[in-house]
Amino acid sequence: MDFLAEAPYLAAVVPLGLAVFLFLFGRLLGKASAWVAMLGPLTVLLAGVACAVVVLGGEASAAPAPYVGGMVSSATWDWMVQGTMVITIGYAVDGLSALMLLVVGTVALMVMVFSVGYMADDPGFARYFTLLSLFTASMTGLVIANSLAGIFVAWELVGVCSYLLSGFWYRKPSAANAAMKAFLVTRVGDVGFLLGIAVLWQATGSLDLAEMTAAASGVAAGTIAVASALLFMGAAGKSAQFPLHIWLPDAMEGPTPVSALIHAATMVAAGVFLVARVWPLFEASPGVLQLILVVGVFTAVMAGTAATAQNDIKRVLAYSTISQLGFMFAALGLGAWEIAMFHLTTHAAFKALLFLGSGSVIHGTGTQDMREMGGLFKKMPITAVTWIVGAAALAGIPGLAGFFSKDEILAAGYHEQLWVVVLLWAASLFTAFYITRATMLTFFGRPRGDQHAHESGPTMTIPLVILATLAASAGYLATVVAELLGEEAHALEPPVAIVSATVAIVGVAAAVLFYRSGLKADDRLAGALDPVWRAWEHAYWFDGFVQRVVVRPTVVFATVLYEVVDRFVIDGIVEGTGTASRWFGRGMNAIENGDVQWYAALIGGGVIALLAVSYLIVMQDQLADTISNLGLW
């Protein structure tokens, strides 16, 4: 396993090779392709472990900023060379990369195992695992890349994988549209990312992270602020932060394990990872950090409330993810990037668990609508218990993963800006409430709907159990994570922790009491909170707002461009070229009439033209001089 620490690029190369292999032979392999594909995340996980061991053992060499925790291994190659312009590509594995390798490897492996059962009857089985392998390779490439060029390439690759997997059931129009929407909305952010890269390249002359960071200290603060704001734009798009969050709930059209892997644990966390990766740039731009803080807190509260009124179990989790990512960005905004990474890690564990749990429920009942569930605890005991562990972790019940990481964020805010803490407590209250509501509606109360729900098979329950174990215990790894990131671990902040725990317990208790009566509680709440509840249900109608303010004007503008500019101006020019040539041809044709005298006249005309030109150039007197000088006179 040591060789994986020396050659961590294998973590990206192996899944990529497997993706190619499965692309070519997946259909022949059939069901076996799943087990072949698992070699990919297994490699990633082992590489993560090997690298983490090196970092924790203190054997890593010193690493320049922005690398943290020591350098395990790195290499750089020239990629594009144009004169003096060189774009390099390569990898560099430090503590942060090692942590991400662990997260990606673990979740990807669990998701793949789970998918064997979940996708068993799907005709696209081999294609599914091909794409998962490709995603694993891309995500690994993203976390080990040592230049912004490499990160951007991987960034777009995971975007493509997200597109392909969200729209996996591409015959379903809603899935195809959702995939398109996700792609386009994240593209808005990616434009900012690309511009940010351009600004940095212009300012520092390098895309290599270490060289860039070193050169950035000599760059004007304003330039760095612009660049980091643009990078944040890309991060916000990928991590579904307001106002670019609208794609994530729709992306739930994909298979549920995909949601667990891409839209909960890894890809959507890439934005957080990106900010942490180039942290020195953000650290130098307090204004941008404040912007990130505001966006993060706003998103956390907005999505947390929206999640409360959803009826689709996956949409609850989608808004929950947006909200939790808001927490992470709030941590980044507070300057506590290592806490954001810690929350990313715990969130990956419990949110992947919750998504896979919802997948198990959907698999067992055949529906995603919580109003048609209820009373599943007895029919699906393993799913129910693991789900409750994940829900408790998300809610922030003391002792479980979410409590620790969320508490650290709140503690950081407590020291910096108090309003942040208050708003995040509100978001936490909603978090505890909505996840408990989902639990109550799904697993408790009277069964609604007439499905014959059943517990899922071992390939699905085993990953649930493993992830539940992680969700319960990951909080105690704070010291390890901090050490990997080369930072001090934060001790619990008693006053904050007590309030947080109270908030969580109150939220859970309220939801439990409320939803003992099942769906009636929804009606009562909807009645009591009328306009607000409907706003939550429609996520503040932001989608419709975007539709009206951005999409429709764009479509109208594009239509005008097409109907007026394209049809008349462009086509006119293009067709005019042809018409003019035809006319010119006809004119020329009239000259070629076979009359030799006409030809002679044309020759005479040519002579005149030449004379006229020479006459104009030389002028009369000079022409006379020229003739004299010839010696005639």
Binding site: A601, I608, Y615, Q620, I627
Partner: protein
């Protein structure tokens, strides 16, 4: 008006009149007579500019040769209608612009030189000069022209008799 001026104008009128007749007239015989007048006018100008030998050659070769040749062709073809110059058609009026503009250009370009050309009477040893030139500096051209003339005559015969042989 001096004698030389009078003779210049007589010759000029002869040349211009003959040329215009050639270009404009409809009748074949009248055209030939016009050409004859023009060619004699040219011979007169040769004399006027002191080249009596060339003047004689001009009369022999053109008036006695080419003109007779054209008359012969007309007689052989038994035709006396040359067809009107197509001055009525719009294309031909446009075509007429070409010579007009050529005239303007030539006149404009050469007149500064021409104004300085006075009337010069020929020198008596001009033939001697020409002999020296033709057999001296211009010998290659002279020989070439001889060959050309031979080729032209053979070609003329060949073109005309080809039909009978095939």
């Amino acid at each position: 008006m001096s004698v030389s001026e009078v003779s210049f104008w007589i010759l000029a009128t002869m040349c211009l009149g003959g040329a215009l007749v050639v270009v404009v007239t409809r009748g074949m015989m009248r055209m030939t007579l016009g050409l004859g007048a023009f060619l004699l006018g040219v011979a007169g100008f040769f004399l006027y500019y002191g080249s009596p030998f060339l003047a004689v050659a001009q009369v022999f070769v053109y008036v006695g040769g080419v003109l007779v040749l054209i008359l012969l062709a007309i007689m052989v073809l038994k035709r006396d209608d040359t067809g009107r110059p197509q001055l009525t058609s719009r294309v031909d009026i446009a075509t007429a612009l070409v010579p007009i503009i050529v005239f303007v250009f030539m006149n404009q370009a050469l007149s500064p030189v021409g104004e300085e050309l006075g009337v010069v009477l020929g020198s008596s040893d001009s033939v001697e000069d020409m002999r020296m030139a033709l057999l001296g500096t211009m010998l290659p051209q002279f020989e070439l022209v001889g060959v050309l003339l031979l080729v032209a005559l053979v070609a003329a015969v060949a073109i005309v008799v080809r039909k009978e042989r095939s």
